[in-house]
Symmetry: C2
Subunit: 498 residues, 2 copies
């Protein structure tokens, strides 16, 4: 393992001129841009069938103590670099899945290596604070130069968390407390004796039967509150008790969008109307609506900016909070830093949750009334992890230095054009291509999806699915045109094998 730090240092010269080795040789899409990672391989490398013998043996070893049935590939991170992920058998794949959409600036990124070696990181790792009680003296600075530097427009405060699930759940808790505060008539109103008593046995009014509304096919996490808003697949939910919370319909759009404009607008209108009806009529009053800008686990389901603006209007009209779950869509992948930046909202969401590419988690908010009216209502021991907050700051620095949001918008357009050509050539294998103008956050449906994904490693790419039929692309923000060329070529190879 000692070679990692050294190899990371070697990669420091990220602006080195491209060499023959780093330029794609695919004839149709020759790319001229400098590679961000000069030492990246020029192409995937296949050494064995995947999984190879070393991977199989190591997986059997891990299986003794850790459930490996969801294992995709044991990874040699010391040999992974930039957009390329390596296994134990010498296979090196172009990775457009990126740890379930959570690696933004490449494996063994040299700048992050420096962040990891910094004194701030060491102290954060060895002196882990209870952030609500004993934050470090520089916590405000870490927030202001990191997490809050990229806060969505209109939101200037944050409650930090550990991962997407608890980011969403703490946002839900803030919504419930806010809702009850409005009902009571303000933050200065005291709890009743009955509330104080009933909450200790989980009964109303102290533990009220309120709800969070989410959308069909949505995914918001897998703990008990977040799972109650998750509607992706039965396997995510079966056997786990859930709250009796409402599910609104999410628009089912037809593609290509330009050929179904009127139909799609009507579908979105139908969903909005039903959403508002449910808010008004659901037996457990709705404190907030949570929605993903693009339903990411549930099948890469998109809706138009007009739909989301309509949703914002409905929530305002009905005095429920509007929570945008940017756990998977946030941090640049859609060609904007936050996917909801595409919507041109008149008023910002009440809360925006984040995780994955941020490598840390939490929810942003702007309205000071969303701070609960007393201390210790929104609290836990760690309330996040400063070590991971420092990594996010390093990621933001890389994004700014390399202009990676704009870059991803452009690379996404290039990739989308290439996929459009493939869709014209293989219409049965690339259906409902979607994500135009959404950076590299692109997906399509294919009837032989699982077979498609199964063959991907054999042509040198690591690629994931979403929903039942979708192939989802989740490249890193350092994905470039020459990577897109390799990916397009690989997709065609897979299709030819189906």
């Amino acid at each position: 393992m000692a070679s990692i730090a050294r190899s990371s240092l070697r990669m420091r010269s990220v602006t080195r001129m491209p060499t023959a080795r780093t330029i794609s040789t695919t004839p149709h899409f020759r790319a001229a841009a400098k590679p961000f990672f000069a030492d990246e391989p020029a192409a995937p490398k296949l050494a064995t069938a995947i999984p190879g013998p070393k991977n199989k043996a190591a997986t059997a070893e891990l299986d003794k103590v850790f459930d490996v049935r969801s294992l995709n590939m044991l990874t040699d991170y010391s040999k992974s670099i930039g957009n390329y992920i390596a296994d134990l058998d010498g296979n090196v794949l172009l990775d457009v899945y990126a740890q379930i959409a959570s690696i933004p600036v490449g494996y063994n990124n040299p700048h992050l290596t420096k962040v990891a070696q910094s004194p701030e990181m060491i102290t954060s790792l060895i002196n882990r604070p209870a952030l609500g009680n004993f934050p470090s003296a520089d916590w405000a600075d870490i927030l202001n130069t990191g997490i809050l530097k990229v806060a969505p427009k209109g939101l200037n405060q944050v409650f930090t968390a550990m991962a997407g699930s608890d980011a969403n759940e703490t946002a839900y808790k803030a919504a419930f407390m806010y809702y009850r505060q409005l009902q009571r008539g303000g933050p200065e109103k005291e709890f009743t004796e009955e509330e104080l008593k009933t909450t200790m046995t989980n009964q109303a009014p102290g533990s009220p039967q309120l709800s969070i509304m989410s959308f069909k096919s949505g995914f918001h996490g897998r703990l008990f509150g977040s799972l109650s808003t998750t509607r992706s697949k039965p396997i995510h939910k079966l056997d786990i008790p859930a709250f009796d919370w409402p599910q609104a319909p999410f628009p089912s759009l037809k593609y290509p969008l330009e050929e179904h404009a009127q139909e799609n607008a009507q579908e979105e209108q139908r969903c909005l109307q039903e959403t508002e009806r449910l808010i008004k009529e659901w037996h457990n009053p709705v404190a907030a609506v949570v929605v993903e800008p693009i339903q990411s686990e549930g099948g890469d389901n998109h809706a138009s900016p007009a739909f989301f603006r309509g949703l914002r209007e409905i929530t305002k009209r009905n005095n429920v909070l509007f929570i945008v779950d940017e756990v998977q869509t946030g941090v640049g992948a859609t060609g904007k830093f936050w996917a909801h930046d595409h919507w041109n909202l008149e008023t910002p969401p009440d809360m925006v949750t984040f995780s994955k590419k941020a490598q840390t988690a939490g929810y942003y908010y702007g309205n000071p009334a969303l701070r609960p009216n007393k201390p210790y209502r929104q609290f836990n021991t760690w309330m996040g992890d400063p070590a991971r907050a420092l990594i996010f700051r390093g990621i933001i620095e890389e994004i700014e230095r390399l202009n990676l949001v704009e870059h991803t918008a452009q690379t996404g357009d290039y990739l989308y054009s290439g996929l459009q050509r493939l869709a014209e050539k293989y219409p049965e294998h690339l259906q409902n291509l979607r994500g135009k103008g959404q950076g590299t956050f692109i997906a399509w449906d294919t009837p032989k999806r699982d077979e498609f994904l199964g063959k991907a490693k054999g042509v040198g790419v690591n690629i994931g699915g979403s929903g039942v039929n979708a192939v989802r692309l989740r490249p890193m923000l350092i994905f470039q045109q020459h990577h897109a060329d390799i990916l397009l070529e690989s997709i065609e190879k897979i299709i030819k094998q189906l």
Copy 2:
């Protein structure tokens, strides 16, 4: 900040002989043991009233973006060392609260500094894996030499998590899946169409109305499932929807224990009977019982090993799982590595959850049937954090090198004796002293508790409370007799001010 790493390196010689500066000058309890941290101050240092001017100014700055109403003290971790925590104004306090019981081997521990600088740590920080899909090649080794090296007797597998709340909630999920599997007749039985359909709208039978039983005054976390089992204080629960889950009575013991043996045994018997009645009769069937070995947030409430053995018997007799929540009690503080080691159980708990002093989290289990019958049922993107798992491994190495569990048992006895003397001298201020033979996990009740805690910093100690009336001691495992002397002296000083 650059000085941290250097000052950490200076502390490497932890076996250096004690100097006059590091030996307590308290006359009654002169200690002879070598200090673990040679550069620790010999005593607390008070430079200003607390909070001092720099702390106040920095807190106001942080308040702009982060809720500071639960803030105890902004901390200068670069100046904190061993058992001593420093603020921005030059105050250095003996810390027996330790980030809510979560720092085990001291601030700026030299061995952890080395771990933080290791190549494994750097790759874990910058190449964060989705552990269920793409674990690193050495993940099995990291588990086997770390988390699993200290697995409770009889439990040899782990599901890793991020913090105490999700450690408990994933354990609850495993319990629900196991319970339904038994009902169905085995792991090979398929879900019914009705289950697959109803779970998508959060309804039974797919989302069954099962429950987890917890105890009055218990604390198990603050997300929606864990909060439904938390019964500590209304402020932790108010306004948050909760599941209709049962609450069993926890024994209310009288102290000193030896004077109330029969009465306490009867009380425990009463609670066990009521627990079993609730398991049999609660309208939402009980899949598991969760209990803390010592109720830590709820007031440091103890029960006897016989009570817990009885509880284990009841759960077996009624086919419900027995989950022991060792989030606060685990990792040595009670003078055993796991507090439930004190019980001499005939069969191990079904699951044991951990976090805090482990600096990472998860649940241990032994029965392979607790792995859900299909992949992706117990899953999330990160499933923990290898960086924090490496820190836990370093902590375990320190615990072994310095024999800190045995050490804590001995120091605890010494501290308890001193407190007994104080309780005899000030019976009105030290009531119900408890934690004898439980390492340094000691508490007592005092009628002026909040006043007591408020004055502690003024005499140079950082100390926390639990429940309504309790002062709880949560020193680190490197807390030594000379620290106990200072603490005892400080407690007496506070009492004299009340």
